[in-house]
C-alpha cells in the first residue's frame, strides 16, 4: 500500500479562514467517515467558529505573528496509534507580505483507503487554492519534489501529480490555458478557477510503469525536467 498526501496551497490572506475550515471539516468527516475530529491531546474538537478562533489565537507566534499558526488534527485519537489515522495538517493565518503560504493538507496512512476524489474537488472549491494535488509519498520522494520546490517560487508546480489542480496564475507560468488543456493525461478539464489534471483514472501508483510514463510525458509537456539533480549543498 502507498501513503498519500492531499495538499492545498493557498496564497496568504492574513486571516484564519475559519468559515472555510469549518466547511472543509464537515466535508472531510463525511469523506473519511469519522464522526469526530481529535486534537493532539486525543480529545474531540469542538468545531465552532469561537473555538477555532480561540485555538488559533493561542498559537500565534509572539515573535513572528505573521508566519501563521500550525495545527495537526486527527480522525482517530492519536494516542491510539493506528495507521488508519488520517492527519489534517493546517497552516493558516499567514500574512500576505510573508514568503510562506497557507496550507491545508491531509496525510492519509497507508492502511487507510483514499476516499473518492470528488471530495477533494469539493475541498478545492471551498479553499480555492492556487495549487492542490494528491501526491504519493514514494513518487514525491523519487522526484525530489521538496528540493525542487526550494529552487522555484510557489508560482509554478514542482512536479505534476496524478491528481493536480492549478489556478490561472500557475497556468500562466507554465504555458497558458490552451497549452495546459492539451496536456497528455487521462483527463484535463477546466475546474474552479483553473485546470484539473488527472493523469490516470483512479489513484496514481508509483509501481505502475504506465503511470510513471504518463507522468513523465505530462512533465515534459510543461517543461518540467523529469531528471533533476539538486544543487550541491556544502555542509
Amino acid at each position: 500500500m502507498n501513503s498519500y498526501l492531499f495538499s492545498q496551497n493557498c496564497r496568504p490572506r492574513g486571516d484564519f479562514r475559519i468559515d472555510e475550515i469549518l466547511e472543509y471539516f464537515d466535508l472531510m468527516k463525511e469523506a473519511f467517515r469519522c464522526s469526530e475530529i481529535y486534537g493532539s491531546n486525543s480529545k474531540p474538537l469542538e468545531l465552532t467558529r469561537e473555538n477555532l478562533e480561540r485555538i488559533f489565537r493561542k498559537k500565534i507566534d509572539k515573535l513572528f505573528p505573521g508566519i501563521g499558526v500550525n495545527v495537526d488534527w486527527f480522525s482517530i485519537p492519536p494516542r491510539k496509534r493506528d495507521d488508519n489515522t488520517v492527519r489534517f495538517e493546517i497552516h493558516t493565518g499567514t500574512f500576505p507580505d510573508e514568503v510562506f503560504i497557507d496550507t491545508y493538507d491531509i496525510s492519509i496512512g497507508e492502511a487507510k483507503k483514499v476516499p473518492d476524489l470528488s471530495y477533494f474537488e469539493k475541498s478545492i472549491q471551498i479553499f480555492e487554492p492556487f495549487e492542490a494535488y494528491l501526491g504519493e509519498s514514494e513518487n514525491e520522494y523519487a522526484l525530489d519534489s521538496y528540493n525542487r520546490q526550494q529552487e522555484i517560487p510557489f508560482d509554478r508546480p514542482a512536479i505534476i501529480r496524478g491528481f493536480h489542480y492549478m489556478d490561472e496564475s500557475l497556468i500562466r507560468n507554465i504555458g497558458g490555458m490552451k497549452h495546459c488543456l492539451k496536456a497528455p493525461a487521462w483527463k484535463v478539464e477546466r475546474f474552479c478557477k483553473g485546470v484539473l489534471i488527472e493523469l490516470v483514472p483512479g489513484l496514481f501508483d508509483h509501481e505502475n510503469p504506465e503511470h510513471l510514463k504518463i507522468q513523465q510525458e505530462a512533465m515534459e509537456h510543461f517543461g518540467i525536467p523529469v531528471v533533476w539533480t539538486a544543487p550541491e549543498i556544502d555542509y
Binding site: N70, D83, F100, E110, E138
Partner: protein, 322 residues
C-alpha cells in the same frame, strides 16, 4: 519491596549514588559500535594543546595544558615502560627502578594524581582538589544518613501535606548544585582553553538549558560542550533574531536532529498518528523567518530525510540533508 511510584522516588532520592537514571546521567553514554573506542590518539592531544596554547594567556591554564600534553600526548608514550613507571610512581629509594605502589603507603584508589604527578602541585589544581574533597565528604555524609534512613524501612504513600512536601530535595539538591558548579567550572576552564572561539556571524552564542533528549547528538555535531549545573544541562546555541539554532558555520545556520526512528514506519514515512509534525513545521518556519535569507540546514538521520521532508512540508529556505 518497592511497589509505588512514591516509594521508588523516595528510594532514588535517598540513594543518589545509585540513581543512574537521573537527568543528565545518560548524557554522553552510548552503545559503542564495533571498533569504536573512547581513546584519543596522543597526536590528536598534541595538536589540540598546541592550538590552544597559541590562544591561551592564563598561566595556570597554560601549565595545565602543558601537563596534559606531557601525560596524554606523544611524549609520555614515546618513553619505555620502565621510564613511564618511574614517572608515575617516582623513584624515592634511588635504586634506579620505580617504587611499587604498595610501598608508597598512600591510598592510590583515592588519590587523583600519583606521586610525582606535576599537576598535583599546581595551585589551581589543588584548589579544585580541595573543593572536590569537600563535596565528596558531603556526599559520603549524605550517603551514610540515607543508609540510616533506609534501616527504618520504606515509607508509606503520602497521606498528609507534610508527606507531600519534598523536604528531601533540600538535602540532595545542594549536593548536585555544588557538584555541578565545581565540575562545570573546572570543565569550562579546560574546554574554553582548548576549543576555538565560536564562529562569528549575524547572531550570538547563548547558553540555554535543554532536556537530555538529543543533547549528546547536538553536542557531538556542534562541538559545544554540555555543562551540568544544579542538576540541569546547558549547551551553547546560536541565536539570530530571537530564534535559536544548534550551530553556525561557513555562513549557514544548522539544526541537528537526533534519531526519531520510533516515529517512522517501515517506509521511513512519518507515522500518521505522530502528534508533533506541526511543531517541526513551526520550528522550520520560525527559523527560515529569523534567518532572513541565510541558508538553514537541518541535518537528520540518513534514513529520515524523506520523513522530515514530509513533516516540514512546504517551508522555503530550509534544506534537509542527511
Amino acid at each position: 519491596m518497592i511497589e509505588t511510584e512514591a516509594q521508588r522516588r523516595w528510594w532514588f532520592a535517598t540513594h543518589p549514588e545509585l540513581s543512574g537514571g537521573r537527568r543528565g546521567d545518560r548524557v554522553g553514554k552510548h552503545k559503542k559500535g564495533k571498533g569504536e573506542s573512547d581513546e584519543v590518539s596522543p597526536e590528536v592531544v598534541d595538536a589540540y594543546v598546541e592550538q590552544a596554547l597559541e590562544h591561551e594567556t592564563d598561566d595556570v591554564v597554560i601549565e595545565m595544558l602543558k601537563r596534559t600534553k606531557f601525560w596524554f600526548g606523544s611524549e609520555f608514550d614515546s618513553k619505555t615502560a620502565e621510564e613511564q613507571r618511574a614517572l608515575l610512581w617516582g623513584d624515592d629509594d634511588g635504586d634506579g627502578s620505580p617504587d611499587e605502589p604498595a610501598n608508597k603507603g598512600g591510598n592510590h584508589q583515592t588519590s587523583r594524581a600519583p606521586k610525582g604527578h606535576p599537576a598535583a602541585s599546581k595551585a589551581g589544581y589543588t584548589q579544585y582538589e580541595d573543593v572536590l574533597d569537600r563535596v565528596e565528604d558531603y556526599q559520603q555524609e549524605i550517603f551514610e544518613r540515607a543508609i540510616e534512613q533506609d534501616k527504618k524501612g520504606l515509607e508509606p504513600d503520602p497521606h498528609t501535606f507534610l508527606d507531600l512536601f519534598p523536604w528531601r530535595r533540600l538535602v540532595t539538591s545542594p549536593v548536585g548544585f555544588v557538584r555541578g558548579l565545581v565540575r562545570g567550572a573546572a570543565r569550562g576552564t579546560v574546554v574554553h582553553a582548548v576549543k576555538k572561539a565560536g564562529s562569528k556571524g549575524p547572531g550570538t552564542w547563548v547558553e540555554v538549558p535543554r532536556g537530555p533528549n538529543g543533547m549528546a547528538h547536538q553536542s557531538k555535531m556542534s562541538g559545544q560542550q554540555i555543562r551540568e549545573s544544579g542538576g540541569r544541562l546547558y549547551i551553547k546555541e546560536y541565536e539570530v533574531n530571537g530564534v535559536k539554532f544548534d550551530d553556525y558555520k561557513n555562513g549557514k545556520l544548522y539544526e541537528y536532529k537526533g534519531p526519531h526512528g520510533h516515529l517512522f514506519d517501515k517506509n521511513n514515512d512519518l507515522r500518521p498518528w505522530v502528534k508533533d509534525p506541526g511543531e517541526m513545521r513551526k520550528q522550520a518556519v520560525r527559523q527560515a523567518k529569523a534567518a532572513k535569507g541565510i541558508p538553514v540546514i537541518w541535518r537528520v538521520g540518513a534514513h529520515q530525510v524523506k520523513a522530515f521532508k514530509n513533516a516540514v512540508g512546504k517551508v522555503r529556505g530550509v534544506e534537509i540533508v542527511p
